[in-house]
């Protein structure tokens, strides 16, 4: 049941539109309900071959030798593809926006870094014949010690997962192993608090579980081009990735997609297109490469796990004085898109609340598991879980109703956010009020009268003096610890200097300007 609350923010909106705001039936409804909408796999082409991959049996191993002799002569086999057949067998997805280093092969050559990593592709007349040939391939592995825990991966002497990033962390700004967020002085904030609470949260990996699994069909077209039917969520992103890996001009390809059976972030990685096209190039025949459900669940990239530590200070009156966050994104064996989510996560801190002192260190960590990728709420979902569970605990500690606790701390128009832009167009207060009303959750009158448009700004618009650290020092992993009373306060996990560094120079712009951007900017290795 959905109710449109047109009464709220009515003065900011015209409601004189003709087509906008109507519950018009979907343009593609008839096709969907009659089963006639065409998806990528509805293109069965004459002479179409099927591609399947041999996947690593180990999470971490050196490949000594790959023997495909028997498979090459197996029934129905048209072509065996190995890493040396891939024109540019090293890529990272965000190289298209110049962010990060090429770190992932299409087909593993000398080492496998996660169980299920593709090593050899077989193109055959039928999926069954492809699988039967794969069973005849022999790989001589030298198993290596694997690391699966993000904090273990950061310890000295941990196995190196991915030689491109020998410290098992993505590199930010060409110098740091994490993305920082610094706003005010959290130590001062903890000193001003009546309660300090530090907690550990763990987000699970999640399978996207789309109805339609990842896949594509590539076919030679006229005039030296290739047509590619694909389930991608990002047509040109996939097209340009293929052009890079296969080392051909982008107009070699005619990508067709656009009607996809669910994505949720799991169809951005261009998993199948490069090999399908390469198969078509090498055989001159249409080639179909589709993940089965088990492959999709085991080796299709999941939402990555995240481990999050939050330490908060809160006063008896319910105001949060400081929030310190350390989070580890489990990227799996390769970067894919996790490096991006880390920065988005830093920008999201400290959640939709105005907190005068905020400190964040967010890491993108490599482990020997299936590479993680984007999923609905990328970079934010796990952090929201951690922050909102923490908010509930803080309200409990301070003895304040959890709804009212959120209203006390909610950000409002004119407040300064921790990433140093002014909050505008906020509506958290109203959402809490309306949800309370719907749930018949009693709010006191003063809380019902609050507004996102009132009482923000002023001192809340200021950027507090923020200490700049001379160099990054890696925080040692902390045990889960809860300090309900400041008297029992234990030292923080982060060994920063005791003497406060000199305050930072004032921010360049005295008045905050939301959306102020510097063009042609450099962010890490991302250049435009």
């Amino acid at each position: 049941m959905l109710e449109l609350r047109k009464d709220i923010f009515a003065d900011e909106r015209d409601d004189n539109l003709k087509e906008i705001g109507k519950g018009t039936q979907r343009q593609d409804m008839l096709g969907h309900v009659t089963g006639t909408s065409a998806y990528f796999d509805d293109h069965k082409l004459q002479g179409m071959l099927h591609l399947k991959v041999l996947r690593s049996a180990h999470p971490h191993a050196r490949i000594r030798r790959i023997d495909t002799a028997e498979a090459e002569h197996a029934q129905g086999v048209r072509r065996i593809i190995r890493g040396s057949d891939v024109p540019r067998n090293l890529n990272t997805l965000l190289s298209l926006i110049n962010f990060g280093k090429d770190d992932e092969p299409s087909l593993a050559v000398d080492k496998v870094r996660y169980k299920g990593e593709p090593i050899v592709a077989v193109v055959a007349d039928s999926p069954r014949e492809a699988y039967e040939a794969i069973a005849k391939i022999r790989v001589d592995y030298e198993p290596l010690t694997a690391v699966f825990d993000v904090e273990e991966a950061l310890r000295p002497g941990a196995p190196v997962v991915n030689e491109t990033y020998p410290k098992n962390t993505f590199t930010y700004h060409e110098r740091y192993d994490h993305q920082k967020l610094r706003f005010g002085d959290v130590e001062r904030g903890f000193a001003e608090a009546d309660h300090v609470l530090e907690q550990r949260y763990q987000m699970s990996p999640i399978e996207h579980a789309p109805t339609e699994t990842n896949g594509s069909i590539a076919a030679p077209d006229t005039n030296g081009r290739y047509v590619v039917y694909t389930s991608t969520q990002a047509l040109f992103f996939s097209l340009d990735t293929c052009a890079k890996i296969l080392d051909v001009p982008s107009n070699t390809f005619h990508f067709i997609g656009g009607t996809v059976g669910g994505g949720f972030g799991g169809k951005v990685d261009t998993l199948t297109e490069p090999l399908a096209i390469l198969g078509a190039m090498l055989t001159g025949r249409p080639v179909r490469y589709v993940l089965g459900r088990e492959e999709e669940m085991q080796y299709g990239p999941p939402r990555g796990a995240e481990r999050i530590y939050i330490k908060d200070g809160v006063r008896r009156d319910g105001r949060i004085t400081a929030r310190q966050v350390r989070a580890y994104f489990d990227s799996g064996a390769y970067t894919r898109l996790s490096s991006y989510a880390v920065v988005k996560c830093a920008a999201h801190l400290p959640g939709p609340y105005t907190i005068p002192n905020v400190y964040g260190d967010i890491y993108c960590v490599f482990t020997n598991r299936t590479p993680a990728t984007a999923m609905r709420g990328f970079g934010v979902t796990a952090m929201d879980f951690a922050i909102e569970c923490q908010m509930d605990k803080l309200a409990h500690l301070a003895g304040i109703d959890p709804m009212e606790f959120r209203l006390i701390n909610a950000y409002r128009d004119g407040d300064m956010k921790a990433h140093r832009r002014e909050a505008k167009n906020t509506a958290l207060v109203e959402c809490v009020q309306v949800a309370a009303e719907k749930a018949k959750w009693p709010l006191r009158e003063e809380f019902k009268r609050m507004s996102s448009r009132k009482d923000g700004g002023g001192s809340r618009a200021e950027i507090p003096p923020t200490s700049r650290e001379p160099a990054a020092s890696r925080a040692t992993p902390a045990q889960q610890r809860t300090s309900y009373d400041r008297g029992l306060s234990v030292p923080t996990h982060d060994q920063r200097p005791v003497a406060p560094p000199p305050p930072a120079p004032p921010p360049p712009a005295s008045s905050p300007s939301h959306g102020a951007t510097r063009f042609s900017s450099v962010f890490g290795t991302r250049r435009r």
């Binding site: 959905l2 109507k22 949260y201 699970s204 990508f255 067709i256 609905r376 990328f378 990433h419």
Partner: protein
Amino acid sequence: MTRHRGRGIASINYPIGMNLGGDPSQALVHSNPSGKFTVALSSIDLGQGMKSVTRQICAETLGVPVEDVYVDTADSDTGPHCMGSFASRGTHRVGNAVMAAAREARGVMMEAAAEELEVNAADLETDGRGNIHVKGAPHRAISTKDVAIAAQFKQGKTISGRGIFLVPLSDVDPETGEMSPATCYAHACMVAEVEVDDETGEVAMVRMDSAYELGRALNPRLVEQQLVGGAWMGVSHALYETPEPYYPNPAHGPRDFVEYLMPGPGDVCPHDIAVLERPAADGPFGAKGPGEMCANPVLPAVANAIFNAVGVRIDDLPITPEKVLRAIKAQGGARPQSRR
């Protein structure tokens, strides 16, 4: 055995579009000789309704009925570049590109109509039903079909438009994290009510009440589809799903939907939703986007409701019956918190 009820809340915001911007989308709009319009995109419809919402945006901007617009998605030979369907960017980024293209096409259409009616284009308006007429004089009108015929066969004009929308890329300060991550944010608050069985550790959803602020609900039925479906994805994340049940141990991964659990029809509960609209300055008709954020408040709201019901905090997802039961045992039985 006792079943304990509890309520939990969570409130969130969510950035619209790719973090830091720098993620353009383009659109092309053109008319055929009958005054019917095609929108060419390379954007993807994942089932979320990309075709439908851009169709409504195009129709509204052109001033023609939605039936006169057809959206063609995701052909790299005909659709201009789009970054992709992710990061809650479809409505905001692609919507704005379509709006810009439709505005340019409308300009040509009004000029062509003005020439036919022998008036100034500034004096014309569309009626949204397929006609263009002089403001205040509805009888001095011409149909969009007649305008299209005249433009193409008599005046030699192409009723078409190009659009692009780009939020310029922001940089990030390495030391402080200063950045411009997004131009607008959606908001939500969720109240979840659960029932926890203290003998089995099972958690059942009882009801959800929520408020979502989305800028403008361009199509309330598509919004409802996202919010209802997204909330259940949130429940599923909170209580059911994991490909690694003993993470970080990677063993026992699922191979199919028998082993990978999700809520089924029998687990569904009522969900009462309010939608608020505080228009974004740079959104198409003020719209932000409901796509990703609708799942986010559900995970913590469910966890907090479980605490309210039986007094245990499960900070590791998913909150399986095993974890609930172990936690209840560890504290010596269920400890229901104050009912609220």
